[in-house]
């Protein structure tokens, strides 16, 4: 049976979205049937990054109970080369929709959790998806915690920024642990990860600070900054070192099944 993976972080700007898109693409390139969801309703970005300008239904509508999940999915499988399938569910980027999503009450959030939990049946069981990847808002947002509760695996994108380290450590103990979630850390924007000794030092430091497994170390790549979000490396640049790191992560996630 397929699995739900939530990509979360304490702070913004840690690379969640970049990681989510490329990890989804890397898993699809492995021949998997993957669905990528934008659950960052406060600052939707997948629509822009994937160059999709409209959708019959948004994830907002699915969570509102006004459309079925099939209508909110867009098939982007033509961008995948190895026969894998890549679908996306987008958050509505309109200002009105963002405002609407920020004003939901607890009862609505409870129903939204029910609808996210129902995806296990509708997409993983019935439609045979291997993975649902959920890109979330940073910090303790309702939509993010709903995604975490629904997930089998939580990937925490973090950097060596001191406030990020402290906050991430707190979240590990006071959020993911409380929901008994399997959690792995992805250390992003690392400056000295080229040597083997450097990687080993970082790995032991992460284990010591967070006491959870390290899924991968992503160095700071100027090429990623230059691409300005316009390139899905896992699809378009198969030989780039960033793509190889993502492939390693995708393989590790696949082996956890």
């Amino acid at each position: 049976m397929g699995r739900i993976v939530a990509v979360h972080s304490y702070k913004g700007g840690t690379g969640k979205t970049l990681l989510s898109i490329n990890l989804a693409a890397a898993l699809a390139e492995h021949g998997k049937k993957v669905c990528l969801f934008d659950l960052d309703f406060r600052a939707p970005s997948l629509a822009t990054l994937l160059n999709v300008d409209h959708s019959e239904c948004w994830l907002n509508d699915y969570l509102n109970g006004t459309c079925e999940i099939d209508k909110a999915l867009l098939d982007l499988s033509e961008r995948v080369h190895n026969g894998g399938k890549l679908f996306v569910g987008l958050a509505n980027p309109a200002t009105e929709a963002i405002r609407d999503m920020s004003s939901k009450d607890r009862k609505w959030e409870m129903r939204a959790l029910g609808r996210l939990l129902a995806l296990r049946t509708s997409l993983l069981n019935d439609k045979g998806f291997d993975y649902i990847l959920m890109d979330t808002s940073p910090g303790l947002q309702y939509s993010s915690i709903n995604a975490i509760v629904s997930a089998d695996l939580v990937l925490v994108a973090t950097t060596f920024d001191r406030s990020d380290v402290d906050g991430t450590r707190r979240m590990l103990r006071e959020l993911y642990d409380l929901f008994e979630k399997k959690t792995e850390v992805v250390l992003n924007k690392v400056l000295d990860a080229s040597s083997k000794a450097g990687k080993e030092e970082i790995t032991s430091k992460v284990n010591e600070v967070y006491q959870v497994p390290l899924l991968g170390i992503v160095p700071c790549f100027c090429d990623i900054l230059k691409a300005r979000g316009g390139t899905i490396f896992a699809n378009e640049k198969p030989d780039h070192p960033f793509t190889r790191i993502l492939e390693e992560m995708a393989t590790k996630i696949d082996k956890m099944a």
Binding site: K107, Y142, L178, F179
Partner: protein, 94 residues
């Protein structure tokens, strides 16, 4: 609750109405209740026996926790013959 009243229990508490079981509520719960509530969230509707199969705790323990969650207003309880089913009321407008 009716049973508690019938037996004249002093710890009888009125059922709170409509306390949504959202994730922030789940986070603020004690660990033992959160486990039961999370399991029911995943299952949708279940008996204490079915919950205990998932949590690996005794049926009587789960029954007590589920009833506590009903009293707190987070769950609803419905009898079908001898079986008591617990579920989250998502229909009430809030």
């Amino acid at each position: 609750m009716i049973e508690l009243q019938k037996h004249g229990r002093k710890d009888y508490q009125p059922t709170l109405t409509d306390a949504p079981l959202d994730v922030m509520t789940l986070l603020s719960m004690p660990d033992h209740l959160r486990k039961t509530a999370m399991t029911l969230c995943r299952m949708g509707r279940a008996t204490a026996d079915e919950i205990s199969e998932q949590t690996k705790r005794a049926r009587a323990v789960e029954s007590a926790y589920l009833n506590q969650l009903v009293i707190m207003g987070h769950l609803k309880k419905e009898r079908n013959g001898r079986k008591a089913y617990f579920f989250i009321d998502k229909e009430t407008k809030g």
